[in-house]
Amino acid sequence: MKEPGKITPDLVKAHGLTEEEYEKIKDTLGREPNFTELGIFSVMWSEHCSYKSSKPLLRLFPTSGKNILIKAGEENAGVVDIGDGLCVVMKMESHNHPSAVEPFQGASTGVGGILRDIFTMGARPIALLDSLRFGPLDNGRNRYLLSSVVGGIAAYGNCMGIPTVGGEICFDETYEGNPLVNVMCVGVARRNSLVRARATGARNPVFYVGADTGRDGLGGASFASRELTEELDKDRPAVQIGDPFKEKLLLEACLELLNTGAVVGMQDMGAAGLTCSTSETASRGHSGMRVDLSLVPRREEGMIPYEVMLSESQERMLVIVTRGKEREARRVFDKWDLHAVPIGEVTGDEYLTVLDDAGGVAQVPARFLTEGAPVYTREERKPEYLRKIKDVSISTIPEPQDYDGVLKVLVASPSICSKRWVYEQYDHMVRTDTVLRPGADAALIRIKGTQKAIALSCDGNGRYCFLDPYEGGKIAVAEAARNVVCVGAEPIAITNCLNFGNPTKPHVFWQFRRCVEGMADACRILNTPVTGGNVSFYNENPKGAIDPTPVVGMLGLVEKMSFSCTPWFKREGDLIVLLGECTEEIGGSEYLGLIHGLKMGPIPRVDLEKERAVQNTCLELIRARLVSSSHDCSEGGLAVALAECCMSDSGMGSGAVVELEASPEILKIRMDALLFGETQSRILVSCRPRNLPRIERLARQNKVACWRLGVVRGNRLTVRRIKRRVLDVSLEELEENWGKGLSGGDD
């Protein structure tokens, strides 16, 4: 690359900076920025790094709570106290655009980036989860994206030896051309060995550690902050290439380094690479930093300072070391055969100063880079489409003749079917802590050396949020919490990844606000503060913005691991009981979409107080060991939930006989709505017959509806209403349909 002689308005525009932003830069610097500085501002003030559109709304999230040690936004990841001197560090991040262009590397480096965010805080990563969205699988490109993204995640996570224990996958036309790849990492640290991403103590040396710098990923943060174009391939150079082996060495070296007491602060060189890590650590530490680019190890010839500062080459870190302890630090890096060079030092002047052979190449106030970006209050407008699709009268929808057929179609649909084809490609057992493997409602990970375990789940439903962003936001949190409750854990905190279209479009920003408001309300009532997250705007394809897709990563805690719960029916003769109420809610369901081709509202309402009561009841039942299984009723409704309880991943399914003879209110609900409607706040449990009275009593005390549905028996799923058989499918047929949905017969 050659440095242009003059900063022109076109050049400024090409860097994604507005005139107003450029004026602000000139005012503060008291001069025109040079080309390197322009590059620095373009990435630091990009949406991806500055959150300039989302910041005001993110303040709506509740962020404090008794367990919260480090609040959202203070560091690179949130930190939750789990007692015994331990804490959980967690974060979720998107790698949508890179994965659209180069799916294998895009997904791979997404995993690499989120792992570095966790271990640079001094935590050992113990689990990964992924929330993925693709267009329909009948399009060959989407199948390619799916297999490459899954392959990329597997390649990185498996090599690192961090189990990928859960997540979710969903397919919908809205993600055509703009898949979503959200990766979540969870780590555990001792409370007293957390590391801050701060540069303090003037004259402390700044080390560059890890891979050499190349031109890959140049300007990735800006790339993530605009819409993808049809000429995707042109953006390929903005995608980085991952080296999980190098990262494994970095991980071990960083954690070993902590024992030397030589570390002042650490930060990953992720988005905006050297620029972001130097300015953010300096800004957080109320310091400045001087770095000399001629000392930065490179793998390409002739790179200009602009390129070195903006490169997003992977597996690099910035480590600020206590002066005088350089030797201890070096010893650790040498042991792991890692390249570590001092490239500068912390200064007291609060400026980021960049030098190279020829002298100064940039000098900018560090805080101005990280906090100075203008914050925008974007225009909002309730979208027109909502008026058209809001109402759906059940009377206009034909009632199906063949319920068996409907159920088979639903369980075979890629969004609902078994995800075995995916998770068997992920090493989900390494570290020997995975108590509940993928397939259960949430993953359960024990913490060795304690009696504790943590439960993890990812959830989000773009269709719900498209139809009603506020309720959809609430449901994302409520369902994620319900999932961890179903395995026996108490929900304690969330992280999130908010995937939306272009925020300068008023309807997109309105969707964003309503989703955030819904999530915030749910977090407040369910007592799960937000520990941080990531916003990904500009998710658009030629047809327009994607469905608003907030994804929630839920952390649940089991204080004393003596008993956990799985969704599968266990024992012939056990009774099947539904906690929660049934109502006639059919809008936004998988059933409407798949069987009737309708994407219409109103979506199910969540009464958050009721939700909390149902969750508390389920948790009490599990802790008292009164239930043999518990499973959340979600996509596909009651019938799909029953089917899922019948089919165990280990191949030992149990049938069920269900009699829908209940109160007159339930008899009023049309059959398809009762079986496939997605009414929230419902959990399906099974129990020994002798436990039923105690379960009913507990539910009554908590004012939770409790309906005895039937019994675990035989090898068919049979549903009857007033002696009439509505549904009768053999387990074999169910399993066949459920099992083949994703593999597409390629195994």
Binding site: G151, A154, A155, N158, C159, M160, G161, D243, P244, F245, K246, K248, L249, W336, D337, Y423, E424, Q425, Y426, D427, H428, M429, V430, R431, T432, T434, V435, R446, K448, M561, S650, D747
Partner: protein, 247 residues
Amino acid sequence: MRFGVVVFPGSNCDDDCYDVVRDVVGEEVDFIWHKERRVEGFDCLILPGGFSYGDYLRTGAIARFSPVMKAIGSFARRGGLVIGICNGFQILLESNLLPGAMMKNRSLRFICKFANIRVENNLTPFTSLCQIGQVLRIPIAHIDGRYYADDEIMRGLKENNQIIFRYCSEDGELSQESNPNGSKDFIAGISNRSGNVLGLMPHPERASESILSSEDGRVVFESVVSTVKRSPRRSLRNDCPPSEEIS
């Protein structure tokens, strides 16, 4: 007795093996860094799973040149017990401490799931507490786990009873459906001629506690303990000086 768990750059089941030996089996255990040139005071060495050197070039192909491998070769030649699990097995193949090679799984994808393996030979230090034909439920997690050997090697393996574990169904039947990766002759684990070096693709350390839904893998470690404690002569706790290059 004392186990040693060898740590290569990129090993990632080292902690898991260490934890099982110390906390589940209840024996002494130490890590051995791959740059060590001596291995002293160990009764059994474990080469754990993972991606040594990123599996770049070919699985195990770079790790075989780690300094510790010379000492391990000499330890093995003197009758010391060595277990290679998954990537450890691949390293033993590349080091010629075991015969044969690994190819990509039949599906060409990484596979992580429980598999059933059948004990084919219980006259080894690693299976002494098993019954012949006993089925163990132990997870696999690999992409290069399809064992291959030419006819001559296969003949040797059979003649010397070196096939220790075969993939099978729950009931112990051999069939291609229960051969997860397409290994030749269903091979999941083999030993060397003298029976003191074992390589297996399944991860016994992941199936050694009831909380992890199978305890079947523990028998491998317990067999070793029982063997060493019954005949202390097996123990090679005296020094193993570095020796010449393994041929």
